[in-house]
């Protein structure tokens, strides 16, 4: 009778075996380690790819060089105050990357280029390395003889070229 009681008590005190306990601990540790490594990998990866993207974009923007090399005023008749004025804008890509021009501002007014043969007639407009592009924009607002025109041309990468010229 006593022997049966002792066996029953001993069986009640044994939760899991030592082997099972070790396996459980190892599994738990490995799971946590996997989670930690995955988290670290994702974090480092996104950090790495973000930095990679940043440097790549900065590098491309840095390689962009373009200049407004000439602006010519074209009048339909004698250039007189207030008459329609067409600005012929010549932009040259002198960098080592193709550029995409996205906006032209004349005196802080965004203008779209007009049509014409052999011209860059729309925005955005891509200019290859070493190439020059002619935009014709029409200034319809009032102007007076000798007034200044401030011109800004911007690229898709955030660079810009400026030019200031005196009107006819």
């Amino acid at each position: 009778m006593l022997s049966r009681l002792m066996k029953r008590r001993a069986r009640r005190n044994l939760a899991v075996s030592t082997v099972i306990a070790n396996l459980l601990m190892i599994t738990l540790t490995i799971s946590l380690a996997a989670i930690l490594v995955a988290w670290a990998g994702t974090s480092f990866g996104s950090f790495s790819s973000g930095a990679q993207l940043f440097f790549a974009q900065r590098g491309q923007a840095l390689q962009e060089r373009f200049v407004i090399e000439s602006v010519f005023f074209k009048c339909t008749s004698v250039c007189s105050t207030g008459s329609p004025l067409t600005l012929m804008i010549f932009v040259r890509n002198v960098g080592v990357e193709s550029i995409s021009l996205v906006a032209i501002y004349v005196n802080d007014t965004a203008l779209q280029p007009g049509s014409g043969t052999g011209l860059c007639t729309a925005l955005p407009s891509t200019i290859g390395v070493g190439q020059v592009c002619e935009f014709n924009v029409t200034w319809t607002s009032s102007w007076s003889s000798g007034s200044l025109f401030n011109l800004i041309v911007t690229s898709s990468r955030g660079n810009r070229a400026t030019f200031t010229m005196q009107g006819p």
Binding site: I30, F47, R65, K74, C75, V78, V94
Partner: protein, 406 residues
């Protein structure tokens, strides 16, 4: 052991990330350095257009340009230590009327302009470091002439690196010095020139001559020292007679592309250094006669050389004619019209010169004014004129001309 593996894994992951980022950063720095080098070279470029800027080859008509081209030379110097490739040339004629309001775009071409009306010689497009007076040949269609107006052709030279070098042409140099006539066995330097608007004043030996009733043919002023060079005269003062009527003959060149009509308000004004002597104006007087004028061409260079023909019939204080002009046309005849420059803007300038007479003591007056004895003056030249036949605008210039004494 498992902990070690975990730590090692984390370390390797971080290390890989750092290596990747470092590589990107290095690539970025490499790009940055390369572009910085490009910028350094770009901003090192320094082209300067040298006299005469643009000149036309006299017999340079060639086929091309959709017909016939005229051949021009553009003279530039490379003042920098980097070679420069000219990518394009713009000639922007800014004359105010439509026929002259044109833009020429010149791209490089090995032969005279096939399919376009203007281009430049591609073999001339590279300018060596330090090259002086490098010639770039360019062609324009014969049907399109360059405007020779002081309002200007704005010419832009664009380089492959993106620099733009602009200048106005025609641009007479600020100073020009060359050998002058022989006077008394010595060569007289011609001195310097001053350009104002369309006018050129050349400080040479015959910049200013004069007549009096005692000296009926224009002769040079005396000098305060024995050296007759204009520079020395400038420092010592040119000497003119006093107490007698005097007619000044001042040589003026027209560099513009249109005739200049001088107005009767124009004058030489002698400003005395002494407060006791008032300013003395010598208003513009009637022009010299043709026989007098021809005397100035006795010398092929247009200089007074002492061999005066003796039939000058030149105005003196005793034969002074009043000068009368309006903005539209001269009422008197003839009026002062300084002929326009040559169409191509090339020397010799002597073809565009005029001797303008100053003498009268009032506008349109016929009485010659006089200098006061024992005085020293700074003489200013005040010219009022109309240009291009426009009656709408009246221009003027004022130039400190000479230091004179009596």
């Amino acid at each position: 052991m498992i902990g070690g593996i975990i730590i090692l894994t984390l370390f390797l992951t971080a290390l890989t990330t750092m290596v990747v980022i470092s590589q990107q950063y290095d690539a970025y720095q490499t790009t940055l350095n390369a572009m910085s080098q490009m910028d350094v070279e770009r901003f090192s470029e320094n082209l300067a257009v040298t006299y005469p800027g643009i000149s036309m080859q006299p017999n340079g008509a060639v086929s091309g340009c959709g017909g016939t081209c005229n051949t021009y030379n553009l003279t530039i110097s490379n003042l920098s230590g980097v070679g420069t490739q000219v990518a394009r040339i713009y000639i922007n004629s800014t004359a105010p009327t439509v026929p002259f309001y044109v833009l020429y775009i010149l791209d490089p071409s090995p032969t005279p302009c096939v399919g376009v009306t203007s281009c430049f010689e591609s073999y001339d497009s590279f300018v060596d470091p330090g090259a002086a007076n490098h010639q770039i040949i360019f062609w324009l269609s014969s049907s399109e002439a360059l405007s020779f107006s002081p309002l200007g052709n704005s010419i832009s030279i664009v380089t492959e690196r993106g620099r733009v070098f602009s200048f106005e042409w025609p641009f007479p140099p600020a100073t020009e010095e060359s050998e002058g006539p022989v006077v008394g066995g010595a060569i007289v330097p011609t001195g310097n020139t001053v350009d104002m608007g369309p006018f050129r004043i050349s400080y040479d030996y015959n910049l200013i001559t004069y007549t009096t009733n005692a000296q009926t043919l224009p002769g040079p002023a005396g000098c305060a020292d024995s050296d007759p060079s204009p520079t020395s005269c400038m420092s010592g003062g040119w000497v003119f007679p006093s107490g007698t009527g005097i007619v000044f003959y001042v040589r003026i060149f027209n560099l513009g592309s249109a005739n200049i009509i001088l107005l009767d308000k124009s004058a030489l004004v002698a400003h005395s250094y002494s407060s006791l002597v008032t300013d003395i104006p010598f208003y513009i007087s009637g022009p010299m006669s043709q026989s007098c004028w021809n005397g100035y061409f006795d010398d092929p260079n247009g200089y007074y050389d002492g061999s005066w023909p003796g039939t000058g019939n030149c105005p003196t204080p005793g034969s002074l004619a009043g000068y009368n002009a309006t903005h539209v046309a001269c009422k008197g005849s003839p009026c002062y019209v300084i002929p326009q420059g040559s169409a191509l803007g090339s020397p010799p300038w002597a073809t565009n010169e005029e001797y303008v007479l100053f003498s009268a003591n009032g506008i349109e007056g016929t009485t010659a004014n006089q200098l006061v004895a024992g005085s020293r003056y700074e003489v200013t030249l005040n010219l009022f004129y109309i240009y291009q036949g426009s009656s709408s605008f009246e221009y003027s210039i004022a130039l400190p001309l000479l230091d004179i004494s009596t």
